[in-house]
């Protein structure tokens, strides 16, 4: 095979003619994000579109392009970077992805792509479509909430007599990957595990195998695939002196885990205590604002009317509003109920649960009680949010780096390993 010259973002590179653009770029040290691309599936699937670039002036996914002499590719223009980010955000918004409750967390390609692209929140509304978890297969569990329909398993997993084990079923927004109960039982142990590993998310789970190493290898936790990885934030003018600032914090529909994380900075907390005073906060047990604050930090989303009221108060009393943790950003774990109508949730919890006696219980309702909302809302759906810190919980370093940057203009640079969704 001949060697060709091609161009990425105006720089000259060389690769073998006919090799895949994603691979050729990677060999030359240029990172093109991709999810559905799987080296040995030919022709490539082109389903996830995450690797969209501008190739010879036209928008096309890099994975369906092979190297030709003189190929001109644009990869890292601001427009393309944002577009690819949007596509991954779209997947997070479309599925029901709860990283802290997922076996694949740490080894998940989708999560990894989120880290690489620095996605702290999806610009799209989460769709919360009700999807089932298929427990019927003997060997596997099909977690439809997590599937990104990349098609890898459809094209790669066959029984020894050449029959498909996975196949798309339905159409449109109802499309999902169906599993054949007869065929999956015929797979050998190692074939089944291969299918689980091939899945870029945690949609294919082999019973008894997913937690064999309790927390997996967490392959994507520590190091980026990009040479010069950088999480950026708008640079702020540096403030000369560290004047004392006031912070308020609250936990709405959250678990206080973010607050715990916030306190988890060892002796640094002593320095922090010098520099900030806490007003309304569970840390001080001050129930109502006594003054206007420089910064409000909110944990948890809104699941009832009281959360909304508190959140609005925070917006009113704080100059800058930061939400921390997945719950505050888009609902997080409490939003697991968002795919199910509220009535069903309440009746299951209060009336029909195994511990409730028929006719003995009621759904709590009293004028003094906050009213439960139809679903859990992210803070951004109620008030304007200035900054978001992802994580469940976010790492303490991440929280304090953001706070220090916002309050005193300290340089903000985040390590790859400090940015997590779980």
């Amino acid at each position: 095979m001949a060697t060709c010259t091609f161009w990425i973002d105006g720089k000259k590179y060389e690769a073998e003619e006919g090799s895949n653009l994603v691979d050729a770029a990677k060999e030359n040290g240029v990172f093109i994000p991709s999810l559905c691309y799987f080296k040995h599936i030919d022709p490539p699937l082109g389903t996830c579109r995450t690797c969209t670039c501008k190739i010879n002036g036209r928008y096309n996914p890099a994975c369906t392009e092979s190297i030709k002499e003189g190929l001109k590719v644009e990869v890292n223009t601001p427009e393309l970077v944002d577009m690819r980010k949007a596509l991954v955000e779209m997947m997070f918004a479309e599925g029901n992805h709860f990283c802290p409750a997922c076996e694949k967390s740490g080894n998940c390609d989708l999560q990894h792509m989120g880290y690489e692209l620095g996605i702290s929140t999806s610009r799209f509304p989460h769709l919360f479509k009700d999807r089932l978890i298929d427990y019927q297969p003997k060997r596997m569990v099909m977690e439809h909430n997590r599937c990104i329909k990349c098609r890898r398993c459809v094209e790669e997993v066959f029984t020894s007599d050449g029959k498909r084990v996975f196949m798309y079923i339905n159409r449109g927004n109802e499309t999902q990957v169906g599993i054949d109960y007869v065929q999956e039982a015929k797979l050998s142990e190692s074939e089944a595990e291969k299918a689980m590993k091939m899945c870029p998310t945690g949609a294919i789970i082999v019973r008894g195998k997913s937690l064999s190493k309790p927390f997996g290898d967490r392959a994507f936790d520590m190091e980026s695939s990009q040479k010069h990885f950088k999480h950026t934030i708008t640079e702020k003018p540096k403030v000369a002196n560290f004047e004392k600032k006031t912070i308020a914090t609250v936990s709405l529909a959250g678990c206080f885990g973010c607050h715990m994380s916030m306190l988890d900075i060892d002796t640094d907390i002593l320095d922090i205590a010098e520099l900030v005073s806490f007003n309304k906060s569970p840390l001080t047990d001050i129930k109502t604002f006594t003054q206007r604050c420089h910064l409000g930090i909110v944990e948890g989303g809104c699941c009832n009317t009281e959360n909304i009221e508190t959140l609005k108060k925070f917006r009113e009393m704080c100059d800058i509003l930061v939400v921390m943790g997945e719950c505050a950003i888009w609902g997080g774990l409490p939003a697991m109920r968002n795919t199910i109508p509220l009535g069903e949730c309440l009746e299951e919890a209060y009336l029909n649960s195994v511990t409730s006696e028929k006719g003995e219980n009621t759904v709590p309702y009293h004028e003094d009680l906050p009213k439960i909302l139809d679903r859990v809302y992210g803070c951004n759906e109620i008030v304007k949010v200035d900054y978001t810190i992802p994580g469940c919980p976010p790492s303490p370093n991440h929280i304090w780096k953001v706070v220090k940057s916002l309050l005193w203009g300290e340089d903000y640079s985040l390590l790859y390993s400090e940015f997590k969704y779980d």
Partner: protein, 590 residues
């Protein structure tokens, strides 16, 4: 001598797998659904896993997993139907049949479903009962129909044969499509012209694809001709799914001969042996007509061995019926569907002219293109060029519907302005016009002096109309129209690529905010940006064009949005519908 055999179901060169779609149809029609049992049987028969058969069946919305009633009713829920009274028809059907929409009544007699445009926008509200059309419905008529069915009449006895509603053809016998048709006139000229001559004629006439992409037909055929693999196929794309269009329905009903003849010409030109008409499931009622015409072609020696008495030219045509999937109008999805698979568009590594049906060279053209070819050869390019305008010769069939007095087919000469067309159809207070269907171009009445032609030059951008022309008056709610379009795309996306599968869903959610009065101009900006992302990153034409109407209407109807929605809300609170959010909980108030 030519053989006079009856139209065959499948050609001997087609592998067994390609029978799957018609076999699924057999089950659906005979048993009212494709049960798990049938899937088991089929998977054994075809040597496929059950999930693969289920995957194919569940792709098409005319295939049901549960019994769909002794009589299956599909009411059209396209935007035109909505304007003409879909809601009232739905209620009447529900009351008369006892079935709720998307369900079957208790006795299992009636199944009631909604389906996107059934190609009868000129006679809405309309419905299909057991795939027989019933048009211009009103509450009384629905009541009578259901009573008759209950009395044991079959839909075949009482259906409304749809009128062609040809409202306008160019004056002074300048019509191309509806001139008197004599079988074989075009085929007769083939021996004199030879394949080169045919392609030359197409080039001179600048004939281009009438499905809406306007790819030069001569070029397509010439490329296909250059490939040596055999056999080759000619596929007629009669999957006319774009909401608001029905021109192919009228052509197939009124001029089936010229369509078949165009296919024979194509077969001769590129050296193909087989022709397949992929007819959308909604037009199942046209199958008889087509098969009768195919038989007549055989009887006249225009199909079969030495077709058209051309030595060594063997050509046959069969009809394949789709099963409800808009995306199968995309040519590569159509080919997949023909092969008995899910109708998912292919990646564009190869064009069908090189590797099409069964990976063999295939010409896929629209119904109207084939009819135009036959007419062009019949009249000669000299005569043909007298119609239309320089650079865009000929005529075009336009399916016109919506707020006007005379919905129907307009055979326009290229070069007509929108204003003239609006005049001719008696448009009432036109305001918003959707050209070429939801995936096409939306225009404001302010642009009514623009021409309709194939010219698409930088300086002179005319409106290229693929067929659908829907007129909406100034009382229509734009957001309502856009919502109808986005829910259509949400259901009709093949589901393979992220931006189309999730994007259409997201756009619909966003539009609902507008409907509920929660949006401001910032939402409009987001909507436009998101639409652009879908446009640039989607895998096939469906996703790339699905957001067109949203993006364009934001550009062209900024006044409309500005007058109805708040300016960008800079306040720190988002609009939030408190009452709706707690409504469900309030049910538990003691």
């Amino acid at each position: 001598m030519s053989t006079h055999s009856a139209p065959k179901k499948h050609f001997s060169v087609e592998p067994v797998r390609s029978h799957l779609l018609s076999e699924l149809w057999q089950y659906q029609l005979q048993e009212g659904c494709i049960s798990e049992e049938s899937i088991k049987k089929l998977s054994a028969q075809y040597q496929l896993s059950e999930i693969e058969v289920a995957g194919v069946a569940s792709f098409y919305h005319f295939f049901h997993q549960q019994p769909a009633g002794k009589h299956t009713i599909y009411i059209n829920n396209s935007i035109i139907s909505e304007l003409k009274g879909f809601e009232r028809m739905k209620e009447t059907f529900e009351r008369e049949t006892g079935a709720h929409l998307n369900g079957v009544d208790a006795s299992g007699t009636f199944g009631l479903y909604a389906t996107p445009c059934i190609g009868l926008s000129d006679q809405e509200p309309a419905a299909l009962i057991d795939f027989y059309p019933f048009t211009n419905l009103n509450a009384l008529k629905v009541k009578e129909i259901i009573q008759k069915l209950k009395q044991g009449k079959s839909p075949a006895e009482i259906w409304d044969e749809p009128l062609d509603n040809i409202r306008y053809t160019p004056a002074n016998n300048r019509t191309i499509f509806f001139a008197p048709y004599i079988r074989g006139e075009a085929i007769k000229k083939l021996t004199d012209l030879g394949p080169d001559g045919v392609i030359e004629q197409l080039r001179i006439a600048e004939l281009s694809g009438r499905g809406g992409a306007f790819f030069p037909t001569g070029k397509k055929w010439d490329t296909c001709r250059s490939y040596k693999e055999s056999p080759k196929f000619i596929v007629c794309n009669a999957d006319e799914g774009e909401p608001g269009t029905f021109k192919d329905r009228v052509l197939l009903n009124n001029q089936p001969g010229s369509v078949l003849e165009g296919m024979v010409v194509a077969g001769y030109t590129v050296g193909a042996e087989y022709g397949i008409i992929y007819l959308r499931g909604e037009y199942r009622w046209l199958v008889n007509k087509l098969e009768t015409e195919i038989q007549a072609f055989h009887d006249n020696g225009l199909l079969g061995t030495d077709a058209g008495r051309i030595k060594g030219f063997n050509f046959d045509i069969r009809v394949e019926v789709g099963a409800g999937a808009y995306v199968c109008g995309e040519e590569t999805a159509l080919l997949e569907s023909l092969e008995g698979k899910r109708g998912e568009p292919r990646t564009k590594w190869f064009y069908p002219v090189e590797k099409g049906y069964l990976q063999l060279p295939t010409v896929v053209n629209n119904v109207e293109t084939f009819a135009a070819v036959a007419r062009l050869l019949q009249m000669g390019s000299f005569e043909y060029l007298k119609r239309g305008m320089p650079g865009s010769p000929g005529t075009k069939l336009i399916s016109l519907s919506g707020d006007c007095k005379l919905p129907g087919i307009y055979e326009i000469e290229w070069g007509i302005t929108v204003a003239e067309l609006l005049d001719q159809c008696g448009a009432e207070d036109p305001y918003f016009i959707q050209v070429s269907g939801p995936s096409g171009e939306c225009i404001s009445v302010k642009e009514k002096y623009r021409r309709i032609s194939m010219l698409d030059l930088m300086a002179q951008k005319d409106i290229r109309c693929g067929g659908s022309f829907m007129i909406f008056n100034s009382h229509r709610d734009l957001v309502h129209i856009l919502l109808n379009f986005s829910s259509f795309f949400k259901h009709e996306s093949c589901g393979v690529c992220t931006p189309c599968r999730a994007g259409n869903f997201i756009i619909q959610r966003k539009l609902e905010r507008f409907k509920n009065g929660l949006a401001d101009m910032n939402d409009l900006k987001e909507l436009r940006n998101w639409g652009t992302i879908m446009k640039t990153t989607s895998r096939c034409g469906l996703g790339k064009t699905a957001s067109n109407s949203v993006i364009q209407s934001i550009e062209k109807f900024n006044d409309y949005f500005a007058s109805r929605f708040a300016a960008t809300d800079n306040s720190t609170y988002r609009k939030f519908d408190h009452t709706t959010a707690v409504a469900e909980y309030e049910r538990y108030k003691p």
